[in-house]
Amino acid sequence: MHGYEVANSIQRISDDILEVEEGSLYPALQRMLIKGWVTAKWGTTAGNRRARYYQLTASGRKQLDVEMSQFERVIGAITRVIEAV
């Protein structure tokens, strides 16, 4: 996916709930590139335009798992706290 598609898919999957400032995607992508979590490759879009396509790497996937479990733990904790009230 290239940047625009990423932004769109975040928006679509979250049913328009998560509507971030789209541009901030790019600094985030740079940081992931540095860490080696994604790779970038230039390709052409359906409209025949040059675009940079990002792909999750193996270490990116591993990082995702780490982040997910971290996130789930936090969410779980929050949920428990809220339910206890």
């Binding site: 940047g3 400032e21 789209e22 541009g23 790019y26 590139l33 540095i34 080696g36 230039w42 675009a51």
Partner: protein, 900 residues
């Protein structure tokens, strides 16, 4: 390994950062356009579609910057930008750049040069394995003369066998010119500098041979086959570096020796110059008598043993030597016990370097001050320049540059100047080092260790950082906090004291430092004058040609015929046209030869075992005193008849005569001798004192004997085989004259090489070399300080005048006289000068005491020098202010007011 890959990615980005920018740009544009299209399709007008797309995207410029910053190269880009900008600024004002860089180059270069010497001579460890374990081992007879040091054979035997702190120990023979040997069998006879060692010496140093082997215990046992080791230099010169030299035979002092080894190229024995041969010292334990202190010891400590432990160990063993070996004939054991022998151990490096360290640290301090002055000058230039850039800086601040960013930029410009200054400074240092090494006193140890090497480069780097911060921080501190408001119209309205304070402070420092250096070199000049005005005891040394000749046993076995050959040579030399007088002696003044012994006088009583004082002994020919111009104060000179007939006579120096018999006349006819089994010898003459030990030391008490003596120093017959001839001629020192001398000598014996060919003036100037070296070096430092300081002072006053042109114009327009303007400007300079002189005076009083051991005949606070230098500096400084003051006076009020 993850961080490594990450760093590689970051690095790739840095290299392709232009491409990176374009990619990001394109990527973001695509995003915006796609979004815009989507909006258009949903029925928006083109204008709103674009606006909506941009709104959703956010601040593109900011995001682009964020993306870049994420890669962590922001600082690098800033620096790169600052460097480019700094270089451009320097190119725009080449005059400033050249002056600043050259000033620094001179200051840094001189400091590096002195540091190289300091490092090579004092700081660098000796070039032997584990040099910290090496010690010089000597013994001192505390009761006789605490300044004497030496080792005797019995000490060596006992220390070697019974020490608990030495891994190994060796002794080597006194290394004066006396130990030159005659090498014959090659085309011309040659004097070669040789060293006698026991087998332990080379193994203590732990330098393996390049070829063959080093000495083993079998080489130095008495009666063993004679062997020799060559140094690399001698092997190259005599054997053309041919490895087949090993096993060959060489004739040394008429004796055949087998060559068993060649030492490596980098081998140096302590600080010995031009060493050619190393010979085994074959000591016979069974023929060893006590107290022949003519050797030096060198040992390697056990790992973990300290110097003080070794000293205690030696102190324990010294009484054992007295019990083990017999005293020499004529000397009682009691006498030796009363001499109070004590250990005298030094780290080997200290033994090699001696006390030259202080001199070098003084010079280092002096040139450090020059560097500070140079820094102050550059800082002042930078201040003026930065002041001129107020507008630029204010503009940058207004555009959002942070204080830190501006400071970084100013520092970067300074760093460029500092770096260029250091690069050129390194060049200056290389040139200066050649000059320094050529000029250095011949006694400067380890001169071959001096060079630009790693520690020197590290020092250069350090000093570059230090100086850059020093002169770079001043403008930063003053100007980085510039406010964003640009002064209206940019007029220089009058001047605030605030703005000049930094510059005046720097100039004050310069004047103060220059004063310290000038006073130091002033004191050295006075010392040098005192030294050169002292009577050395001999006359016109430049006319005296000296050279050494040694008549070996193998050539002339009979001691009694030695003086005949020497007299023949003397007569041949006297026949050379232009020669007014010839003599010879066992040593000439200041050649470093020193032979001492206890001298008994017949009319003194000595308590049982209490030794009489040591006297300097010389063996001289008739005519020696006349040739050197040493005055005969009472009595008569020696005659050849005295020598040949072995008449028991002697001459003494005036100070000895006065010490014992009040007047020189009274001394005549008195009797003296060295050991109790010698014949008494009658004093037939008293001669003038000679400052043999150097001009800054009092003359020694000398005793002169004939060159052929019966029953002397416990021996039946003594002939002086090593002698130095002295020939007085106006042609002394010329090559053609030396050729005539050689022919004259060889007409008597063609196998006699001539060694140590110098005029007496060489020894005379050498004795003052330390003073003249310090004088020249401090003089150069002071001259640089004076020049830089004056330029700095001039610059500040001139700049101040140019800034005040308008003010001066107004003053003159409303009626100020030229005199008033003059005193206004001079007053400002005077203020700075007076404070500088005050601070400098205090600094001088505090620092000249470090010089005091280098001074002679003048105190470290010599009022004459202080006053003279202060007046001189004040006059020069005022002159530096006078030039801009005169320009101020010439200001035309009309021009001045229209100027802006």
């Amino acid at each position: 390994m993850n961080w490594l890959r990450e760093f590689a990615r970051r690095l790739r980005m840095l290299i392709h950062r232009r491409e990176f920018d374009a990619d990001l740009e394109e990527e973001m544009r695509l995003h915006l356009e796609l979004r815009e299209q989507e909006q258009l399709q949903s029925g928006m007008t083109a204008y709103y579609a674009q606006a909506a797309a941009r709104r959703r995207f956010g601040n593109a410029t900011y995001l682009k910057e964020e993306s870049r910053i994420a890669w962590g190269w922001e600082w690098f880009e800033n620096v790169a930008q600052d460097v480019r900008y700094g270089l451009r600024m320097l190119r725009k004002s080449p005059g400033f750049a050249v002056v600043a860089v050259l000033t620094l180059a001179v200051g840094i270069g001189a400091t590096i040069a002195i540091f190289s010497v300091l490092d090579g001579v004092v700081l660098k460890p000796l070039s032997y394995p584990q040099p910290e374990q090496l010690v010089g081992v000597e013994v001192t007879p505390l009761a006789l003369d605490p300044s004497l040091r030496g080792m005797a054979a019995e000490d060596y035997f006992v220390f070697r066998d019974q020490s608990r702190t030495f891994q190994d120990i060796g002794i080597y023979a006194e290394t004066d010119t006396d130990r030159d040997v005659n090498v014959t069998g090659f085309a011309e006879p040659e004097r070669v500098h040789a060293l006698d060692v026991t087998h332990g010496v080379l193994s203590v140093l732990a330098i393996p041979p390049m070829l063959g082997r080093i000495f083993s215990p079998s080489d130095d046992s008495p009666g063993a086959p004679r062997t020799a080791i060559l140094t690399y230099g001698y092997w190259q010169r005599k054997f053309s570096a041919n490895p087949s030299a090993i096993g060959k035979t060489i004739i040394v002092d008429g004796m055949a020796r087998q060559i068993i080894g060649v030492l490596p190229r980098n081998f140096r024995f302590l600080d010995m110059q031009d060493l050619g041969l190393i010979l085994p010292l074959q000591l016979d334990r069974n023929k060893t008598y006590l107290a022949n202190f003519s050797y030096f010891g060198i040992a390697r400590l056990n790992a973990g043993s300290t110097l003080s432990q070794a000293s205690a160990d030696v102190a324990r063993m010294l009484p054992i030597t007295l019990d083990t070996f017999p005293p020499p004939p004529g000397l009682s054991l009691d006498f030796l016990q009363k001499a109070h022998l004590a250990p005298n151990l030094l780290p080997l490096k200290q033994e090699v370097v001696g006390n030259v360290g202080l001199l070098l640290w003084v010079l280092m301090g002096g040139l450090g001050m020059v560097l500070l002055i140079a820094c102050a000058n550059v800082a002042n230039l930078l201040l003026v320049r930065t002041e001129g850039r107020q507008h630029e800086l204010a503009l940058r601040a207004a555009l959002g540059a942070s204080r830190r960013r501006i400071a970084a930029q100013l520092l970067c410009e300074s760093a460029i100047i500092g770096l260029l200054g250091s690069i050129f400074g390194l060049g200056v240092a290389c040139a200066a080092l050649r000059f320094l090494v050529a000029l250095a006193p011949s006694g400067l140890p380890r001169i071959s260790d001096i060079g630009v090497n790693l520690p020197v480069l590290q020092f250069t780097l350090g000093i570059t950082l230090f100086t850059t911060l020093l002169f770079g921080l001043i403008p930063v501190l003053k100007h980085a906090g510039v406010r964003a408001s640009v002064p209206e119209g940019g007029r220089t309205l009058g001047l605030s004291r605030e703005r000049h304070r930094a510059r005046n402070f720097l100039v004050t420092v310069q004047v103060a430092l220059a004063l310290v250096l000038l006073i130091c070199s002033g004191l050295m000049i006075r010392t040098f004058r005192v030294l050169t005005h002292i009577n050395p005891g001999f006359a016109r040394p430049a006319e005296l040609q000296t050279f050494r000749i040694s008549i070996p046993d193998s050539d002339v076995p009979d001691d009694a015929s030695v003086p005949r050959i020497q007299q023949q040579i003397q007569d041949k030399l006297a026949a050379i046209p232009g020669v007014s007088s010839v003599g010879f002696s066992s040593a000439v003044p200041m050649d470093g030869d020193s032979r001492f012994d206890n001298v008994f006088a017949a009319d003194r009583t000595y308590a049982q075992g209490a030794p009489p004082p040591l006297r300097h002994l010389l063996f001289v020919s008739p005519g020696y005193f006349h040739t050197l111009g040493i005055p005969l104060i009472a009595g008569r000179d020696l005659t050849w008849a005295d020598t040949y007939n072995r008449v028991p006579v002697a001459l003494i120096s005036e100070n000895l005569a006065r010490e014992y018999w009040r007047t020189p006349g009274e001394a005549l006819g008195k009797r003296i001798r060295i050991t109790t089994v010698d014949d008494w010898r009658q004093i037939i003459g008293v001669v003038g004192d000679v400052r043999d030990d150097g001009m800054d030391k009092p003359a020694r008490t000398d005793v002169y004997w004939p060159t052929l003596l019966a029953k002397f120093q416990s021996r039946p017959l003594h002939a002086q085989r090593h002698v130095t001839f002295v020939v007085r001629s106006p042609l002394a020192g010329s090559a053609s004259f030396m050729n005539q001398i050689r022919q004259a000598v060889w007409s008597v014996d063609a196998n006699l090489p001539l060694a140590s060919v110098y005029t007496l003036n060489y020894f005379y100037t050498r004795s003052m070399a330390r003073t003249s070296f310090t004088l020249v070096m401090l003089g150069i430092a002071a001259a640089m300080a004076l020049l830089l300081g004056t330029v700095g002072l001039y610059g500040v006053i001139a700049y101040s005048v140019s800034q005040r042109t308008r003010e001066i114009g107004i003053r003159m327009a409303v009626g100020a006289q030229r005199r008033d303007v003059m005193s206004l400007v001079l007053g400002e300079g005077m203020f700075v000068i007076l404070i500088g002189l005050g601070v400098g005076l205090a600094g001088s009083l505090a620092s000249t005491r470090f010089l005091s051991s280098l001074l002679f005949g003048v105190t470290a606070t010599d009022p004459l020098t202080f006053a003279g230098v202060i007046i001189l500096l004040a006059i020069i400084a005022l002159a530096a202010c006078y030039i801009p003051a005169r320009r101020a006076v010439r200001v035309d009020p009309l021009v001045a007011l229209r100027y802006e």
